[in-house]
């Protein structure tokens, strides 16, 4: 048992039971999975990516590259979870990953034996013959061996949430610097957010033994946090990682609300993504200790000295009875003395410096280096080369490695700022180009002493708050250690054995040498060729070592060698949090039509049309296929009368003295002379001359139009018109507003449409053919006084109207229409029947207005007026859009009426080869026409207008369709338009 008898910030009064690889263990509240395992004498926690080497913890934080586990089970199984950050909870289950059959015996550890063949980039040089073997043989093997943890493909059962926070000052990291800054700003009344990734604020103070004034670090922290919590203007976010610095002071944060629980409380999220809008931000993210590379430096039990110290000080867990420390700086000695104080035996401090200071209670081997280690599943001993060249073996179960500290500069570089080298601490510190509004303090700035952190935090807070007009007083800060940094950079011990730089990806010093030898010398080439720094720690524990080795090889300075780019997220973020609530059926909002409730009662089948749900057809008892229902709806409508909810079409209210002149520029055809009480079909072009959208404009008054758009283009068309209004013709008197949702609109179509409407339109309104002819419109009342709008327009080709009432009455109106229409066997029809009838009539819709077709292609070339300047007119005249053999909209009728013609089929001459060279056009829309008792289609054919009566193939090799079709007019039904004028 390696739990120390006393100390640590754990609640010894309570025991927590958890499982790792099926084995039961006990820990305490305050433990992490890693500390609890170490306390239970477990050092082996994982396997490396490539060589499947046995691994234990390297760190005590979120930068952990080795101790990755699969946490939880079922839909909640979470791969690659760092044991060092998992807060222990009762019933926790974790499994080791990337090992088979077991963590202790992993078959793929064979890779370790073959390592000499599996050096950096070896795979680029082989596996090329025979070509077909790559997908079939080599790659499957590689893929199975690669990867880390696995996910279940079950849906994640937990909820995620999103939110938005605003502050004057965002403090990133709640160590001494962050807490001093928060205290300064909080007392000044600034709106402060303090975010820390740990579940206990305090940062390194939790892992150190030195005092602040008379208090322990933990006590001082508790006192400050308590004061901050009492301030209404301060928000404390623990378990919260600021993962990215985005433009203009926006930060991304993830709060792990429920990850320390077995399952989240009902309706409560697992995690929350916060988008934080800050005026200023102060980065107090501290620093990370880096390892030193030496032969077999990756064994379980070998970790950074600060991690070893943290496990002992914060968690009272020592990985072994006897340990040693390998260091190139004074901080390693602090680890040794802390361990001694905790009663852990320190075999020796191996210090690479000839002038290493002495240490009370432990032997210091000055000018010595660790040359090798032993212990396959856990460290047994280390071999040391002494200053005098002799070598000595130390039997230790753990080794703390102190290679110096790297300021945590990641967030300072998220907007492509580059860090600069600081010789005094032999590390990169934040550069001059910081994200807008960001400052840095404490260890993150390279100021490593607690004294410097406290004062740096407070002073920086005062300085940047002054920028935004908030004056803050300097807080009374406690006395704290102010030890100088004494380091003699030392990166790796020479030798022929493998010395690890990137632990997870198994990149060794040898690999960097090979990359250099093959001219992959730029840091980016080094990274990409060897995968150095591409592990889940994003190089936090590996990049510096790699750079240093490359610098040595090229003879350049480390600064000149440079770093790779730091990218968000700072630590990996779960996809669930980034998606928030927008999952499953809530992925996007749903828009319902006014008749939705009624249609549901009718048993309608619904279809997604953009965000809308529309009735697709209304099946009746006994109808076996959708075709039966749709054919019935079409025939009934054409025979008597049908009703369809067309509310989804965009409606834009256009008012103003210049409304007509405005529309005259928006539409390619003329609108200036449209009479009040009349409707006109309009075609809009994009400025590039391609058809954009079509619809109708109804003139309700001299200065008032109602414009309709297709369902899909309602938003873009409104945007387009606002652009024209505000940017192109700012002095036109035009006002625009969308009224799509305000009016429930129904198409009433069929020979009996007028008779039906006459039953509900109030008598004072004459809608006879003479008084209210085709393309008339007017404001009327129905059902005894309800205001309504009536448009005599037809998409179906029948005598038809569209009637609109305030949306809240839409449900009542459709019920009334059905009731009043009983005597005519009125039939509700859905989007399918609507589509069939518009194809029968040859009306263009979305499939024809596909953004690639011109007015001329659509057979409306003559509509483009050259008498006026309308949007798109000029560019529509370009030669490429006006070829004699250009595409034209035509109709297609199969020689065999029962033969299906498929939308998406291409047109070729009979007998022509199926090649692109023979491609004459394509079918855009097709359906079965119950009226013509034949399949029919429309589409675009080269010089189609000159090919009436010709017979071609409509071929769809994709689906195996190949139908002989006759080229006909697209207007299959009532080409003269007698019905709609009836």
């Amino acid at each position: 048992m390696s739990r120390l008898p006393t100390g640590g910030q754990i609640d010894r009064t309570r025991k927590i039971s958890f499982r790792f690889d099926g084995q039961y263990y006990k820990g305490h509240p305050g433990d992490t999975l890693a500390s609890a395992l170490l306390a239970n004498g477990v050092r082996l926690m994982g396997r490396s990516f490539k060589y499947h080497r046995p691994r234990g913890v390297l760190t005590a934080g979120s930068e952990e590259p080795n101790a990755l586990v699969e946490l939880r089970t079922g839909g909640r199984q979470e791969p690659n979870t760092r044991a060092t950050t998992v807060e222990l909870f009762d019933g926790l289950q974790a499994h080791s990953q990337n090992a088979w059959p077991s963590l202790k015996f992993d078959a793929l550890a064979i890779n370790d034996r073959l390592s000499n063949f599996l050096t950096a980039g070896f795979y680029y040089k082989t596996f090329m013959w025979p070509a077909a073997f790559w997908e079939k043989l080599y790659e499957p093997i590689i893929r199975r061996a690669a990867g880390l943890g696995s996910i279940t493909t079950k849906p994640d059962p937990d909820l995620y949430d999103k939110g938005f926070l605003h502050c004057d000052l965002l403090v990133i990291g709640a160590g001494p610097a962050g807490l001093a800054a928060a205290l300064t700003a909080g007392r000044a009344g600034a709106r402060v957010i303090v975010a820390d990734e740990d579940f206990r604020m305090g940062g390194r103070l939790n892992a150190e033994t030195f005092t602040l004034g008379a208090q322990s670090g933990a006590d001082w922290t508790a006192q400050v946090v308590a004061e901050l919590a009492s301030l209404p203007n301060v928000r404390l976010l623990s378990r919260t990682t600021i993962f990215g610095a985005f433009d203009h002071g926006v930060y991304g944060a993830v709060e792990r609300v429920s990850d320390h629980l077995l399952t989240p409380a009902p309706d409560k999220p697992r995690q929350i993504l916060w988008r934080i809008y800050s005026k200023r931000a102060l980065l107090c993210a501290g620093a990370l200790e880096r390892p030193i590379a030496f032969a077999n430096n990756d064994r379980p039990g070998i970790m950074t000295a600060s991690a070893l110290r943290a496990y002992v000080n914060r968690w009272a867990a020592s990985p072994a009875e006897t340990v040693a420390v390998f260091t190139n700086n004074d901080d390693g000695h602090r680890t040794a003395s802390d361990l001694l104080a905790a009663g852990v035996k320190v075999a020796a401090v191996i210090d690479t410096r000839e002038d290493a200071p002495a240490l009370q209670g432990a032997e210091v081997l000055a000018g010595a280096q660790v040359t090798d280690t032993a212990g396959r599943l856990g460290l047994k001993s280390v071999t040391v080369r002494l200053a005098n060249g002799k070598s000595r073996k130390l039997d230790v179960g753990a080794l703390g490695v102190a290679g110096g500290w790297n300021p945590n500069v990641a967030l300072t570089c998220h907007q492509r700022g580059r860090p600069v080298w600081n010789n005094a601490i032999a590390a990169f510190v934040p550069g001059a180009e910081l994200p807008q509004g960001m400052a840095v303090a404490g260890a993150a700035q390279g100021h490593f002493s607690t004294h410097a952190a406290l004062h740096g935090g407070a002073d920086s807070a005062r300085r940047i708050l002054a920028d935004i007009g908030i004056s803050a007083a300097a807080p009374d800060l406690p006395q704290a250690e102010d030890a100088p940094v004494n380091i003699t950079p030392f990166w790796h011990v020479g030798g022929t054995k493998r010395a690890w730089l990137d632990f997870q990806n198994d990149v060794t010093v040898k690999d960097v040498k090979l990359a250099h030898q093959e001219n992959f010398r730029s840091v980016e080439h080094l990274k990409r060729y060897t995968t150095l720094g591409m592990a889940t720690d994003q190089g936090k524990t590996s990049n510096m070592g790699g750079l240093a080795v490359m610098a040595e090889l090229t003879g350049k300075s480390i600064e000149a060698t440079g770093t790779t780019i730091f990218r968000p997220p700072y630590t990996p973020v779960s996809m669930g949090a980034l998606a928030g609530r927008s999952t499953g059926r809530d992925f996007k909002p749903t828009r319902l039509t006014p008749s939705h409730k009624w249609a549901t009662e009718q048993g309608a089948v619904f279809v997604e049309v953009g965000m809308w749900l529309r009735a697709q057809w209304f099946p009746r008892a006994g109808e076996k296929t959708w075709r039966e229902s749709v054919d019935r709806e079409v025939l009934a409508t054409r025979a008597s009368v049908g009703v369809c909810d067309v509310t989804t079409l965009g409606k834009i209210d256009v008012q103003g003295r210049d409304a007509a002149a405005f529309l005259n520029r928006i539409y390619c055809n003329g609108f200036a002379k449209l009479a009040v009480g009349r409707v006109r079909y309009g075609l809009m072009l994009r400025e590039d001359g391609i058809a954009m959208d079509d619809g109708t404009a109804a003139r309700l008054a001299e200065d008032h139009f109602v414009v309709t758009t297709t369902t899909a283009n309602a938003v873009p068309v409104y945007r387009h018109m606002e652009f024209a209004r505000q940017c192109l013709w700012p002095d036109m008197d035009v006002q625009l507003i969308s009224t799509t949702e305000a009016w429930a609109q129904f198409a009433v179509a069929g020979p009996n449409a007028r008779k039906l409407l006459q039953k509900i339109v109030d008598p004072e309104f004459d809608i006879s053919n003479d008084a209210f002819p085709f393309m008339a419109c007017g404001e009327i009342t129905v059902c005894g006084g309800l205001r309504a709008r009536l448009f005599r327009i037809s998409f179906s080709g029948e005598l038809a109207y569209e009637i609109a009432v305030p949306t809240r009455y839409g449900d009542a109106l459709i019920r009334r229409l059905m009731q009043a229409g009983e005597e005519f066997d009125v039939t509700p029809y859905g989007t399918e029947a609507l589509g069939v009838m518009r194809i029968e009539k040859g009306h263009a819709a979305g499939n024809e207005l596909n953004g690639q077709t011109t007015a001329r292609d659509l057979g409306m070339g003559r509509m483009v007026s050259d008498k006026k300047d309308s949007i798109g007119a000029v560019l529509s005249r370009r030669e490429g859009l006006n070829q004699p053999d250009g595409l034209r909209l035509v109709g297609f009728k199969p020689k065999n009426p029962k033969a299906r013609v498929l939308a998406g089929a291409h047109l070729l001459e009979i007998g022509a080869d199926m090649t692109a060279a023979n491609d004459l056009g394509y079918v855009t829309s097709a359906c079965y026409s119950p009226c013509l008792k034949s399949f029919i289609a429309i589409g675009f054919l080269k010089a189609g207008d000159e090919r009436m009566g010709d017979v071609l193939r409509a071929a769809s090799p994709l689906t195996g369709d190949d139908t002989e079709v006759e080229i006909v007019s697209a207007h299959f039904i009532d080409p003269e338009g007698e019905r709609l004028r009836a």
């Binding site: 893929r143 492509r416 001219n519 999952t583 499953g584 692109a916 071929a955 994709l958």
Partner: protein, 416 residues
Amino acid sequence: MRYSGFRVIKEALSGHKGWTPAWRDPEPKPQYDIIIIGGGGHGLATAYYLAKEFSQHRIAVIEKGWIGGGNVGRNTTIIRSNYLLDGNEPFYEFSLKLWEGLEQDFNYNAMVSQRGILNLIHSDAQRDAYIRRGNAMLLNGADAELLSAEQVRREYPFLNFDDARFPIKGGLAQRRGGTVRHDAVAWGYARGADSRGVDIIQNCEVTGFRIENGQCKGVETSRGFIGAGKVGVAVAGNSSRVMAQAGMRLPIESHVLQAFVSEGLKPVLPGVITFGAGHFYCSQSDKGGLVFGGDIDGYNSYAQRGNLPVVEDVIEGGMALFPGLGRVRLLRMWGGVMDMSMDGSPIIDRTHIDGLYFNGGWCYGGFKATPASGWCFAHLLATDTPHPTAAAYRFDRFEKGRMIDEKGMGAQPNLH
């Protein structure tokens, strides 16, 4: 040096002492026959094919930073030839065929993996459009396959079929599509070109063109003037900046496209999938990371980084399609500069300046095009005639109204 399994074993047994540089770092010569500006995938491929297929000599590739540092080093690695329009499909199919023989051709394992690409269908109109596209692919000699929802479910059982806002109604598959180890493409072409005598000059920034009476004589660089008979520009992400030095304004805007990779996972995704009702496409790398992306941020940018709204939009799409992703972690996100042309299709053409040639405007489709782009640009540079499959990629198509607009979005680059 020729790479092979035997070579790897031999070197392993002799301490890897024999490996030589994959390419040299020569000093620039005063004069070349052909200079390619831009040591990205397209530039290196152009140089490689110029030397290998068009037996040109005295060729240099000039790169401002490190080779392969453009979009070939920063993309989602997908290859496919599932295009609709005649101007595009033959070119991308030519490219796919080159991918299929590439590794043997340049003796480098770029891990060309034809694991298939599947575009999901969520509406009838989308099916109609995909059928039209699939038929266009077949007519052009490519492969295409229309899948029913049930067939999709069999191949991707973990997608959201039962609780979806926009149900999956099928898919258009191209089995020959897939992914490639992107960096290796640059390195393979660089090594192949270098071994054929091409000078690859890194850390050499072009600062201007020397143009004398309508003729381009060479380039001014951070390492001095370098003369050339012909200069080919292939600088995706910098096209407007570089061509402005020749006094040209282009039908191009530069936008940022973000891409993402998750932590490594054991194999879960068999091929490449694209969501048809949101901005999300995804594949899984050989290392196990899910590599995915979505839509461009939508504003002009040279910053090579994006913002949160698009990150959230993309991952909302991912979760809507694949609800099991919730507990997977996003490891890294990055942004690349996309030279978005005004119709969404590229330009490979002469300029009005003799001896100055241009290759660009690849939007976010450049990676899959790398081999054919290199080949066709080499063809143009070597023969002064466009390669048949790239004949439509002309500058003047906008003036003449011969746009190649796959998406039908018109002259607004951020919509393509």
